[in-house]
């Protein structure tokens, strides 16, 4: 019986749970089969939306759930990153620098104090009000040789550096030529190289160039940028956040839908209208952000921007407005449901006093 009761949690509170329990156990069964659990979950979650003959409410709930899932995943990911291992420091960093620039004095500069880097360094208040600057991204650590330039041929140096990194256990990718493209011929005018290496949750992009201003003739500029890869627990917490957000979005939509099922046209419009506008604003950001999350989880290259960056920069105002509109819907549903509940109680009271 407990198994059936647990499976019936998917249904909203009310007599339907007992009615179903009676039907399910009438044949003498006491424990649900996996098929029954799946069936009860599916139809129970649908029952939570109310309006049994409406397909529109299902579409609305799916879109809301996807949007709240994305927003919740973004918050979960941001918090999870706080617990991720930091960039290598001290001897570990020195070892990486020594591998890249053996016998050469070197420097290291961190871009961003914590998890992310916003060049404007906004206060918490500014951040809540305006979001992040457009150039905001994940924090990086850049290392290079003292004076930035190394004498010699950049191709030969890159080849040797890649070999040294591979010997130290780095997974080194192929070296790509870099430089501007000649518009007339479409050919790449090579001025440098870029090679990516990965080890211990860090991806490092080593770039050489002869085109950097101030580079002496016969020398080349070189920097290596370190970026942290999302650890397994970051992905696990992010997707947990996604699931919690999806469930919350679905349940709140269901609650508001059931609460306004008998509502008048004005209350109905004031509940649905703001959500529809919010979804119109949110959906493009949700689609782009969710694709980014999938790439971040299952892709094989690191991104210097979090999957939610668009919602925190250009799309911040839209995200904020959507949240406010959804809150407005919830408030209207709460107030209208309460008002109609009081009216029903009053009419029931007057009916019993007449009797």
């Amino acid at each position: 019986m407990r198994g059936y009761r647990a499976a019936l949690w998917a249904y909203p509170k009310g007599p339907r749970r007992e009615e179903l329990l009676d039907t399910l156990t009438a044949g003498g069964r006491t424990w649900p089969t996996p098929r029954e659990v799946g069936n009860l979950f599916r139809h129970g979650m649908r029952a939570r939306l109310g309006r049994p003959s409406s397909r529109g409410v299902v579409v609305l709930a799916v879109l809301v759930a996807l949007s709240t899932a994305f927003l919740s995943a973004a918050v979960a990911s941001r918090l999870a990153w706080e617990t991720a291992p930091d960039f290598p420091v001290g001897a570990k960093l020195a070892a990486i620098q020594e591998t890249l620039f053996p016998g050469t004095p070197h420097w290291a500069a961190r871009n961003g104090d914590g998890v992310v880097d916003d060049t404007l360094r906004p206060s918490t208040g500014q951040l809540l009000l305006w979001g992040h600057d457009e150039d905001f991204g994940m924090a990086t650590l850049t290392i290079g040789p003292e004076g930035r330039a190394i004498a010699g041929d950049y191709r030969a140096w890159t080849e040797a550096a890649a070999a040294r990194l591979a010997r130290e256990g780095w997974d080194v990718g192929t070296t790509a030529p870099t430089g501007p493209t000649d518009i007339a011929s479409g050919r790449l005018l090579q001025e440098g190289t870029a090679v990516e290496a990965t080890r211990d949750g860090i991806t490092m992009t080593v770039e050489t160039s002869t085109a950097v201003v101030g580079t002496p003739p016969g020398s080349f500029d070189v920097t290596a940028t370190l970026l942290r890869l999302p650890h397994g627990h970051v992905a696990a917490l992010t997707w947990t956040g996604w699931l919690i957000g999806a469930l919350a979005g679905w349940l709140v939509t269901g609650w508001a839908s059931r609460r306004t099922e008998e509502a008048g046209p004005v209350a109905g419009f004031l509940t649905r209208g703001p959500v529809v506008i919010a979804l119109f604003l949110w959906t493009p950001l949700t689609v782009i952000g969710t694709l980014g999350l999938l790439l971040e989880t299952f892709g094989d290259s690191a991104s210097d921007k979090p999957f939610w960056s668009l919602s925190a920069t250009w799309g911040y105002g839209v995200t904020q407005l959507g949240v406010l509109l959804c809150l407005m819907s919830v408030v209207v549903a709460a107030v209208d449901g309460r008002r109609r509940g009081q009216q029903a109680a009053a009419s029931a009271g007057s009916a019993s006093s007449v009797r």
Binding site: E18, L20, D22, T23, A26, L40, R42, R46, P52
Partner: protein, 108 residues
């Protein structure tokens, strides 16, 4: 009309039934071909109630639990008659087509 809906309405055609009764009756009438899950049944009953084809008949308390009976409405009867007529016409058409084919095969 989807098949589960057709069988639920058919099960309720003669008398009001509670949920388990509908499941049993559907299984019996369809000769075991239609095995409805409880979740599917109540989703259909909610939808049919909202569409006015079915309505609650009465409640009965058994072992401390309320058991609700459902019955077909007049509109539900009309909808079931319409669906039955459609199925009959379809079946007649298919039978006619098959007998034509059978006749050709015998001639050949």
């Amino acid at each position: 009309m989807r098949e589960p809906t057709f069988w639920i309405l058919t099960a309720l055609a003669t008398r009001p039934l509670h949920g388990y009764g509908v499941l049993q009756e559907v299984g019996r009438l369809s000769e075991g071909q239609m095995k409805l899950q409880a979740g599917t049944l109540y989703a259909a009953l909610d939808r049919l109630t909202a569409e006015g084809l079915v309505e609650p008949d009465h409640d009965e308390v058994v072992d401390g639990r309320t058991r609700r009976y459902y019955r077909l409405t007049d509109y539900g009867v009309i909808a079931l008659q319409a669906e039955t007529g459609r199925l009959e016409r379809n079946a007649r058409t298919a039978t006619r087509q098959l007998s034509v084919r059978h006749g050709r095969e015998q001639t050949a």
